[in-house]
């Protein structure tokens, strides 16, 4: 069974019921950069938590490519600015390491008092968001059965729906990335449609 025929009832399972507005909306008077940084930090930690459980299923044998749809493979841009195909575990490891380093980088994610966000912060965040989205997309496409076996789908669904709602609110999300190209649809595109119908995501 692949993700496409299990999209049925399992994607409706949710830990968090209702709309994500309450926890996505920028709190009044609060600095938007601080709010976005705070949330991205948590998305990373939480995704890492679930990926940590799934790593044993995501090997270069099971996932020789970073796939998120039947015709959709993500490529990594290496240091020479060349786009390369990587096995999914390698790709994800690169993403997670890169994001962790950014989060620890005082220039990218300042934590000291009085230190401001750099003007490039919004673009950094967009990059981070896009890469994390790809990790979600791969896990849904390639490891959904395992998520079900571990009975984690209500949790994982809510985390991802929250992530999408957040991306939408702060314009971090490119619908193209969620749906894939017409000739190479992304598995998560189905989720997107379904959750919109269900009112979990407000369009």
């Amino acid at each position: 069974m692949s993700f496409f025929n299990s999209i049925g009832p399992f994607v409706e399972a949710a830990l968090v019921v209702g709309n994500f507005k309450t926890i996505v909306m920028q709190p009044k008077h609060v600095d938007v950069m601080e709010w976005v940084a705070f949330n991205m930090f948590d998305f990373y930690q939480n995704l890492n938590l679930f990926y940590g459980v799934l790593t044993e299923c995501c090997t270069s044998q099971s996932c020789p490519a970073m796939a998120a749809g039947p015709q959709l493979n993500y490529t990594w841009i290496n240091q020479d600015r060349k786009s390369v195909q990587l096995p999914a575990p390698t790709y994800i490891d690169y993403v997670m390491t890169w994001v962790q380093n950014l989060l620890d980088d005082e220039n990218a994610f300042p934590t000291r008092s009085g230190r401001d966000f750099s003007p490039s912060f919004p673009s950094t965040i967009k990059h981070v968001y896009r890469q994390l989205l790809r990790v979600f997309a791969h896990l849904y496409y390639a490891h959904y059965p395992q998520i079900l076996h571990l009975r984690s789908e209500p949790h994982f669904n809510s985390l991802f729906a929250h992530f999408l709602a957040f991306g939408k609110e702060y314009e971090l999300l490119d619908v193209k990335d969620v749906k894939g190209a017409p000739n190479a649809p992304a598995g998560i595109g189905l989720l997107w449609e379904r959750w919109k119908e269900m009112g979990i995501l407000v369009s």
Binding site: G8, V16, P27, V30, A37, Q45, F50, S62, L148
Partner: protein, 487 residues
């Protein structure tokens, strides 16, 4: 959703679910199995689920709390007709800044190198207490270090931490606030509010005794502090003058506890049992003899002054030792027959005795003897002739230092004639008998700093300083202070 525990076909180590059975348009039959997973995948998945549940609970609560703070301020500002719009706007901006700083704090990893030691001010059983300054904000805190190695069991840590978090979060004016905690491989660090007035032990060493009026003030504040702790559902178990700290206005707060109490050897009941057994047994002729009536008599005639002098000379050393002083501990704690929060009122009785008389009621030259005297308290509780105590004071002490079933409870204590005239509702707002005179925010003149010269300025952290801990991750602990401007 259907699930079935029946084993399904498993191929090549990967779980392969049974194919879909059609039963209505959307019906999917899926056999859940944990067959293809490693042994720790299941508990890890469960842990991840629990963490996420916790995360969302906190996220929703935080959103509600944040909203409440804003609405409250907006309402307050709207009601204030005297304030200019510009100032109102500034206040809202200020709130936003604080909220933003609070969010930032949650991403902040703290380590030793974020704090600069101003002075070593105290020593506890597991480490030292220092006045520190957070380098980026310049704010002053007290930092307590606890050497992990010397704490008894590791799994107690989680339990104890949870207890402490509740207390630290209580926001009670009677409990020292905890702001952050972090650790490195060697130490656990607690960053607390700094109380510049020192502690009651140091005051007692300095003044010897207090007048009844002064004692009444401190004991009354302790009554409220202990009551507050009990209301939160905790028993302190280790109330002693070293744990009663004085804030900059001269009022008391109980020092962070729960953390070390759980570790103290002296609170390990089997430790007591062993001690008592060895004391009751015949192994050592001296201890056996002390237990007999004949030597009790000798003990009574021996110069009490010498005992007291020795005890006083050792008082601080005892406070620094891992065994700690048993002087204030209730007998039922030693006896392992279970105890309730009455044990804290015994301790208060012992402290009150010390405030008025100059030494605690069962003080001895050795901790062994102190145990013995506490267990046989009715034979040893004596009020010296050369110290005048009012009838009310002596009566209250006798109703606290008594068997747990006869000990007064909090309401009876508050109504005791000794406290006649005390207004329990406003005591924290009246002027304290000793208000520390401080020259600066880092003034440490109320601490015995000269006795602590051998203690290194910086804790020598065994490993790297690069080893930082998320101040909040894994803790439910959060602290939002409206009064402090971020951290």
């Amino acid at each position: 959703m259907q699930s079935s525990q029946s084993s399904s076909s498993v191929s090549s180590g990967q779980p392969s679910p049974t194919p879909v059975k059609e039963k209505g348009a959307d019906y999917v039959y899926f056999d859940r199995t944990t067959a293809g997973f490693s042994a720790d995948a299941i508990p890890r998945a469960k842990a991840a689920q629990l963490k996420l549940e916790h995360y969302y609970k906190i996220a929703v609560d935080a959103a509600i709390e944040r909203n409440t703070r804003r609405v409250e301020l907006e309402r307050k500002l709207a009601a204030d007709t005297a304030m200019s719009d510009e100032r109102k706007q500034r206040q809202l901006l200020q709130l936003g800044k604080k909220e933003s700083a609070f969010l930032r704090l949650k991403r902040t990893k703290l380590g030793l190198d974020d704090f600069r030691t101003v002075k070593v001010i105290g020593k506890g059983a597991f480490g030292e207490v220092r006045v520190v300054q957070k380098t980026d904000t310049g704010k002053i805190y007290a930092m307590k270090t606890l050497k992990k190695e010397e704490m008894l069991k590791k799994d107690q840590l989680a339990h104890v931490r949870a207890e402490r978090d509740v207390l630290a979060e209580s926001n009670s004016p009677w409990v020292v606030q905890l702001f952050y905690s972090f650790q490195d491989p060697t130490y656990l660090y607690l960053i607390m509010e700094f109380l510049p007035g020192g502690d009651l032990m140091t005051m007692l060493i300095k003044y010897d005794t207090f007048s009844e009026d002064v004692s009444r003030f401190y004991i009354a504040e302790c009554v409220l502090a202990i009551e507050a702790v009990h209301k939160l559902g905790f028993i302190h178990r280790d109330i002693k003058p070293d744990n009663i700290l004085i804030d900059k206005e001269g009022h008391i707060k109980l020092s962070d506890f729960g953390l070390s109490t759980g570790f103290h050897k002296q609170h390990d009941s089997s430790y007591y049992t062993r001690l008592l057994e060895s004391a009751n047994g015949v192994q050592s002729p001296t201890t056996a003899a002390r237990n007999s009536v004949a030597v009790n008599a000798i003990h009574l005639t021996m110069s009490n002054k010498d005992t007291i002098a020795t005890w006083k000379a050792n008082r601080r050393k005892l406070a620094y030792s891992t065994v700690g002083t048993p002087d204030y501990i209730a007998p039922e704690i030693f006896l392992q027959q279970g105890y309730g929060n009455e044990c804290d009122w015994w301790s208060l009785g012992a402290i009150m005795f010390e405030c008025l008389v100059g030494y605690p009621p069962f003080c001895s030259e050795s901790t062994h003897d102190t145990y013995q005297k506490i267990i046989n308290w009715s034979n040893y509780l004596m009020f010296p002739d050369d110290v005048h105590l009012s009838h009310e004071a002596e009566d209250l002490i006798r109703r606290l230092i008594t068997s747990h079933d006869r000990r007064l409870g909090v309401d009876q204590i508050k109504h005791h004639p000794f406290f006649y005239g005390v207004n329990w509702n406003i005591i924290r707002n009246i002027e304290a008998p000793f208000v520390p005179r401080l020259r600066s925010i880092t003034d440490t003149s109320y601490f015995p700093t000269d006795e602590l010269e051998q203690v290194p300025e910086q804790p020598s952290d065994g490993d790297s300083t690069g080893n930082k801990d998320l101040a909040f991750l894994g803790y439910t602990f959060k602290r939002f202070t409206i009064s402090s401007n971020g951290f």
